[in-house]
């Protein structure tokens, strides 16, 4: 099947117009197949549903950490598990990932955020890595108490997602590509 790029229909091309907005990803599309022996339809469908849910759950864990079980670590790991599920079901992350960001960049950004939360309090006269709480009145939600350590949690979260993506990229698709290349088949 040929590649489709939505929204770039060239009037002079021979492609029919109703294909111009076909999905960009190849993940789970009919016709796109890994080795048919490895495909599990049930898993794919479930993951299709579960992925966003798990993702939202991880965000919840991130914000809820300070008051109930959770936190940046748990949130990041759960988000990572979501991507793991996606990989197990659908194949190579780099082909099907909605992120165009490279995992090392994500890791770097997470680490930088975490370190910045260390230095920023100095500007406000507090100690390094000091924390403070601010209570905001948000229109719909009412009073929202934000603690500055949430930023650290966000940094941890991003970093962990990046780590898991990196692992999937290297250990997952990297090794898979190796095996495929070793067996002489082109992906």
């Amino acid at each position: 099947m040929t590649e489709h790029r939505p929204g770039s229909w060239d009037p002079a091309s021979t492609e029919p117009w109703f294909r111009s907005d076909a999905p960009a990803e190849r993940w789970l599309l009919p016709g796109y197949s890994r080795d048919t022996r490895e495909r599990t339809i049930l898993l794919e469908l479930l993951v299709r549903v579960a992925f966003p849910t798990v993702f939202v759950f991880s965000i919840y864990l991130l914000f809820a950490g300070h008051y109930r079980a959770g936190g940046g670590f748990s949130g990041g790991l759960v988000a990572g598990q979501a991507f793991v599920l996606r990989y197990l079901a659908g194949g190579r992350v780099d082909d099907s990932s909605p992120f165009s960001i490279r995992p090392p960049v994500l890791i770097g950004v997470g680490l930088t955020i975490a370190v910045l939360t260390g230095f920023v309090p100095v500007l406000f006269g507090a100690a390094v890595l000091g924390s403070g709480a601010v209570t905001l009145t948000v229109p719909v939600l009412g009073k929202v108490k934000l603690v500055s350590s949430l930023l650290l949690d966000v940094g941890v979260y991003l970093l962990l997602v990046g780590v898991v993506l990196e692992l999937l990229r290297t250990l997952g698709s990297g090794i898979e590509a190796d095996m495929a290349a070793g067996e002489g088949r082109r992906r």
């Binding site: 770097g108 955020i113 975490a114 370190v115 260390g118 230095f119 100095v122 100690a127 000091g130």
Partner: protein, 511 residues
């Protein structure tokens, strides 16, 4: 002011993050690395000055006072060692950039080298500055994780095996360390070093001594004390020259530093510690004999490294002001000299194409500069005056004789013998590598790894960086007066522990 204490740790971590984010741009990575390390050098110098004049600089992270929060403490010892270490790291980074170890071929950026190097720097700084046992564990983890990556980077299959030895042994010692922390917390209820000092008095003597000895062993593995040293000669020589230089110069010294800090601060002891003197003697002799048996230049230097760790253990075993002054001087001297020697070894391999001493010859005629660059640190290592090795060794020998016990005399004699054996080893390298008939450089046996040998040319960066470090060793010798004065003050502070404890627990500077 106290934010200066956090800079050497947090700045490189942040820069590492940025470096990873900008993984595609080699220039940005290089300049970032050099800039950050330069800033830390300045910071460490300022810290040393302030610590020397005003007493320990304490930063309570997050504003939480110890023992609730983590305290970073920069006293004379920590600041001095930090300064020397970062200077060495800076020079080695220059060397690595010069060696193009950070790239592979033109036009490709390497994501891994610069961020990992910066993280390593952060780990080393944290190890020196932290006042908390668990934070020390974190520092070791940071350091060791970076070192695992650096030692296995771009290696061939058979060299990964050497890296595995190193990784597994270090992981085992980390497991032991973590167990130790668990035991410490179970027994005393705190992991803050200054607080521990007060609570170990309340422990019964059996567990207290066991804790002390377990700490000795854990840090002994990291600092390659005999009989825990075996991993070092098997793993260090297989990495590229600057990596080995950094490991040899810093990682083992951090182990020694941790041993000194924990033993002296936390436990009470009288001068003369026979167990440590025993370990020191064994380490000195086993290392020196091992060096004499080698044909591989890097392995020889690794064994000499082990041997000279024994000198530092010697000073620790003497356990009085004179001994500790000697240890501090020796650490300062050895960090610079050992790093320089490994860098020179890298230069030598570039020229000769081999690491086997029996296949080298006549290098003094080909490149007199390399000969001089080797001679200075080599003589310093062997303790020949007027170089830094002599000054440090003199301090240790004096302390050994002043101690007056039979163990003290025995280890002093052992130290003298080791010095002689080191001189012999170094002279052998000189006669085989720099004297003798000229040999043509052998080609690079393995183009796929990071060792580029036998090209007969070295880049300016490599030579300048090595020159800077050689100059640093000479500077250590020239500045022996002020350095020994600072070391003596640091040793006195260390033994009494009063200034440290009151700075951390009492009215020390907080936010």
């Amino acid at each position: 002011m106290s934010v200066l204490v956090a800079v050497p740790v947090l700045l490189p971590l942040g820069a590492a993050g940025l470096s990873m984010a900008f993984g595609r741009f080699a220039d940005i990575q290089r300049w970032l690395g050099l800039l950050v390390l330069g800033v830390i050098v300045v910071d460490a110098a300022v810290l040393l000055h302030v610590a020397d004049v005003h007493g320990p600089v304490v930063l309570h992270l997050g504003g939480w006072r110890a023992p609730v929060g983590i305290a970073l403490v920069a006293d004379r010892l920590a600041a001095l060692l930090l300064l020397v270490s970062v200077i060495v790291m800076f020079s080695v980074l220059l060397y690595s950039i010069g060696q193009r170890i950070t790239d592979y071929g033109r036009g490709t950026a390497s994501t891994t080298f610069h961020p990992i190097y910066l993280v390593l720097c952060a780990g080393v700084s944290l190890a020196y500055l932290t006042g908390d046992l668990f934070n020390l564990f974190v520092a070791f983890e940071i350091m060791l994780a970076s070192s695992y990556v650096l030692i296995t980077r771009r290696t061939t299959a058979n060299r990964v095996r050497a890296g595995m030895t190193y990784t597994i042994v270090s992981l085992s010692s980390s497991v032991l360390f973590l167990t130790l922390i668990g035991l410490v917390y179970a027994a005393t209820g705190t992991v803050n070093l200054a607080d521990l000092a007060e609570r170990t008095d309340q422990l019964p003597p059996g567990p207290a001594t066991a804790l002390a000895l377990l700490m000795v062993i854990v840090f002994g593995v990291k600092s390659a004390m005999v009989p825990l040293h075996f991993w070092l000669p098997d793993s260090y020589p297989n990495a590229p020259a600057p990596i080995t230089a950094i490991f040899a110069a810093l990682l083992t010294k951090v182990g020694i530093y941790a041993m000194i800090r924990t033993q002296i601060l936390v436990f009470e002891r009288e001068p003369s510690w026979p167990l440590m003197l025993m370990f020191a003697l064994a380490t000195m002799l086993v290392g020196a004999l091992g060096a004499l048996a080698q044909n591989d230049l890097n392995r020889l230097l690794s064994f000499l490294l082990v041997s000279h760790i024994g000198f530092m253990l010697f000073g620790l075993g003497v356990y009085d002001v004179a001994g500790l002054t000697g240890v501090i001087l020796y650490i300062v001297h050895h960090i610079t000299v050992q790093a320089t020697l490994f860098l020179v070894s890298g230069l030598v391999t570039r020229y000769t194409g081999t690491v086997a001493l029996s296949r080298m010859g006549g290098l003094a005629g080909i490149s007199p500069l390399v000969a001089v660059l080797f001679a200075v640190p080599a003589l310093s290592l062997a303790g020949v005056p007027p170089f830094s090795g002599f000054v440090a060794k003199l301090a240790l020998l004096r302390s050994g004789i002043e101690l007056g016990t039979s163990w003290g005399y025995a280890v002093t004699a052992g130290a003298v013998l080791t010095s002689l054996l080191t001189l012999y080893a170094v002279a052998r390298v000189w006669t085989r590598v720099f004297w003798g008939k000229r040999r043509e450089p052998e080609g690079d046996p393995d183009h796929s790894d990071e060792l580029v040998v036998g090209t007969g040319d070295t880049s300016q960066g490599m030579v300048y960086a090595t020159g800077v470090l050689v100059g640093a060793t000479v500077l250590v010798a020239v500045l022996a007066g002020p350095l020994s004065a600072v070391s003596e003050r640091a040793a006195i502070d260390l033994l009494s522990g009063q200034a440290y404890r009151s700075a951390v627990l009492g009215g020390g500077s907080g936010g």
